[in-house]
Amino acid sequence: MDDDLRSLTELDRLIHEPARLLIVTILSTVESADFLFLQRETDLTKGNLSAHLSKLENVGYVNIEKTFKGKLPLTVCILTETGRDAFESYRQQMQNFILKTG
């Protein structure tokens, strides 16, 4: 197997999953976003989004906080520094792969 192809096996599988990749990409562009915004942007069901966020939270990529904006209760999601680093290195790996094979 070619080295370029083999590099695919080293990808962060937690981020590589399409729904989680979209969640992490959205969170990487903002300081924080609430559950409702993520649900609308990703088109996932509440259960699915919760499950994906839990997985990301368990590995320390995402922080989930319950807070208030005025009187409005919010579940706010924040990409941690670890999460940002993981996403950045995932992007680099994908770019390298595409450059070498494309």
Binding site: T25, T29, V30, D34, K69, Y90
Partner: protein
């Protein structure tokens, strides 16, 4: 995920800030107030006591305006937008802030230079309103339009430039030009904001269930 995909997601998230028209309502309102401010000076005459008083408090009016706009945008978004389509806190990207500052400074230098060249050839030209019009247009097109990808900001930018050029060539006094420029542009921006807000509220009715995930 490639860079252009990330850029698309980034642009979509930025566009969300303008999806409800509230930012336009507030900034357009600020323009209308500025128009009124200059119009009062047109009515009472530039040397009148009330005009001198208004000129003295201009900085205070501007600061109060910015604080008021900030409060209004946050309050309206908390009441109308966040319960319907969710809350986002944007990142303050230092590189992006620096880039925007450079764009504004470069545009100001280029536009001022162009205006003084034109002024040498066209005697009736009001260079100040031309500079303001071109700068407002560039800010709308290069900063708001490009970052969000929304066409209505290109239209507003084009309108600001046309209005600036038309008023700079008009025989009216500078203070009347300023009143008309801010007043008219403000009314158009507020109208655009109202239409966008109406559409947004139609597409996103009040949620009946608790949004909290």
């Amino acid at each position: 995920m490639e860079n252009h995909d990330v850029k698309q997601v980034e642009q979509r998230v930025k566009r969300y800030w303008y999806s409800d028209g509230i930012a336009e309502l507030a900034s357009g309102g600020m323009f209308v107030l500025l128009g009124l401010y200059f119009w009062i000076q047109v009515i009472f005459g530039e040397g009148s006591l009330i005009s001198v008083f208004l000129q003295v408090i201009l900085v205070l009016v501007m600061i109060a305006g910015f604080i008021g706009v900030h409060w209004l945008v946050n309050t309206l978004k908390a009441r109308l937008t966040y319960p319907r389509t969710g809350y986002v806190e944007y990142r303050v990207d230092d590189r992006e802030v620096r880039r925007r500052r450079w764009i504004i400074v470069a545009a100001a230098v280029i536009v001022s230079g162009m205006a003084s060249v034109f002024e040498a050839y066209i005697r009736e030209l009001d260079s100040m309103i031309l500079i303001i019009g071109l700068l407002a247009g560039i800010i709308f097109i290069a900063l708001r339009g490009r970052s969000s990808g929304l066409k209505r900001f290109y239209a507003l930018g084009g309108l600001a430039i046309l209005l600036g050029i038309a008023l700079s060539l008009s025989p009216l006094s500078q203070i009347t030009d300023l009143a008309l420029f801010f007043g008219l542009l403000g009314v158009v921006i507020v109208t655009s904001g109202i239409l966008v807000l109406r559409q947004y509220l139609k597409e996103n009715p009040t949620p009946v269930e608790n949004n909290d995930g």
